[in-house]
């Protein structure tokens, strides 16, 4: 009900301001429904077409809900990942827009809550990562870190190093890391798990071992 109302308001608002995203104006929920139903059956091409067609609709909704362009773009990608995760909840034959709107609104609310939580509880301090006030004192620790890290990651396979780098260092999502590396999401998970296990073991070993 609420999501349907928001979708209707969005369309009215866009019509009033005279600059609707092309796909929002052209594509109707019926076409999207057929594409999404085909995607549920495993049709990758239909799924790609559905996500591409729905992207402007999601982006327009996210921009209205979010405080900044940057946050809206994060929400858009979060919505795409959520759609992928819960695409089985779409009931073929029903309108797609209320379903998509509910997901987008929820993800935008989550992003807003996360932003306010970070603002109220976290403070950025550029000196917080230094262990000592004297820069010279930090140099020794700094120079030792690469050696420790090299020791921890020495016996990781190429796939494990890549999985750790993309997901844990660059903070990509599994789907993003999968797209970049070519590894499947399942193998990324396995590689990360095994890499962390090996690194933990290497860290616990004494240098003489």
């Amino acid at each position: 009900m609420l999501s349907g109302y928001i979708a209707a308001r969005l369309e009215v608002g866009l019509a009033k301001h005279g600059n609707p995203p092309p796909d929002l104006k052209a594509a109707d929920g019926g076409d999207w429904g057929a594409l999404l139903a085909a995607a549920q059956a495993g049709d990758a091409d239909a799924y790609r077409r559905f996500l591409s067609a729905a992207l402007p609709f999601i982006r327009a909704l996210a921009r209205r809900r979010c405080g900044s362009e940057e946050e809206a773009e994060d929400v858009v990608q979060d919505v795409l990942l959520t759609v992928h995760r819960i695409r089985h909840t779409y009931e073929p034959g029903r309108p797609v827009k209320p379903w998509l709107t509910a997901i987008t609104v929820r993800r935008a609310i989550d992003a807003t809550r996360k932003r306010s939580r970070i603002r109220t509880r976290e403070t950025f301090d550029e000196h917080a990562y230094e262990t000592f006030a004297d820069p010279q004192a930090n140099r020794e620790v700094g120079s030792d870190a690469p050696r420790v890290l090299a020791g921890m990651t020495a016996d990781l396979s190429r796939g494990q190093k890549e999985a750790i780098d993309l997901v844990k260092v660059q903070e990509m999502s599994l789907a993003e890391a999968s797209a970049v590396s070519g590894q499947t999401i399942a193998s990324l998970k396995v590689n990360i798990h095994r890499a962390i296990k090996k690194m933990r073991l290497n860290l616990s070993r004494k240098p003489s071992e």
Binding site: M1, L2, S3, G4, A37, A39, Q40, A41, G42, D43, A44, D45, Y47, R48, L51, S52, L55, E73, D74, V76, Q77, L80, L81, T82, H84, R85, I86, R87, H88, T89, Y90, E91, P92, R94, P95, P98, W99, L100, T101, A102, I103, R106, R107, Q170, E171, M172, A175, E176, S178, A179, V180, T184, I185
Partner: protein, 228 residues
């Protein structure tokens, strides 16, 4: 957060797609779940409840009892149905309010029943139908125990939708489970309900809803599996 270009993310998601079975409509899923609960509940009542004693205990107040039990049952059925609707994105949220009038009627009718018993039995006697005070704790244990038995299959069914708002789904589910447990309790209640007893029933119902609310994310989101 590092972001991929949208086109690349869409390609990755499309490459990862595999057939998934769409969930059945929420009404159908709720009906199937409630039918299973009804079967188990009916079997338990027929096997373990003393229906002759139940009838004689409530002789003279059958209509009030029937209304009270119907209100409790309607609260449970509608709350669980509403939880199934709330678990799916984009479905009407109006049905989340549907159990509330029946909840109010249930509480009101229970209060009326207690008042009539109090007037009929005499104030300050401390017991009715020969049962001493303190038996209310068994009612609390009954509601909590039956709720604990009903909760896992219902939570599992609700979790299949991976609800985006697990708290509201958990609260509705908790209310439904507690109301159905309280409905079943009537068949096993050894004495007519007193105000003290009603208060204990309410505490048990609130406990079930509270536990469901506290565990919402862990139980509902945790019980989902990746679609196959």
């Amino acid at each position: 957060m590092t972001r991929l270009p949208d086109a690349m993310l869409i390609d990755a998601l499309a490459a990862d797609t595999r057939p998934v079975r769409p969930l059945a409509p929420p009404l159908k899923r709720a009906a199937a779940t409630l039918a299973a609960v009804a079967l188990v509940g009916a079997a338990a009542v027929l096997a373990a409840a003393n229906l002759r004693e139940f009838r004689s205990l409530h002789a003279g107040r059958e209509v009030l009892l029937a209304l009270e039990m119907a209100a409790a049952l309607a609260t449970g059925v509608l709350a669980i149905t509403a939880a199934f609707f709330a678990s799916v994105p984009g479905r009407s949220r109006r049905c989340s309010l549907a159990p509330l009038p029946f909840l109010a009627a249930w509480l009101l009718l229970s209060g009326v029943g207690c008042y009539r018993e109090l007037v009929a039995g005499g104030a300050g006697t401390g017991s009715f139908s020969g049962h001493p005070e303190g038996n209310s704790q068994h009612c609390v244990l009954f509601i909590l125990g039956v709720s604990a038995l009903l909760a896992p299959p219902i939570i599992w069914r609700l979790g299949r939708a991976a609800p985006l708002e697990p708290l509201s789904v958990a609260l509705l589910g908790g209310l439904g489970i507690a109301a159905l447990s309280a409905f079943l309790l009537q068949f096993f209640h050894p004495f007519t309900v007193t105000f003290l007893d009603l208060g204990m029933h309410l505490i048990a119902v609130l406990l079930v809803i509270g536990v469901a609310g506290v565990l919402n994310r862990r139980t509902l989101v945790g019980s989902q599996k990746a679609p196959k």
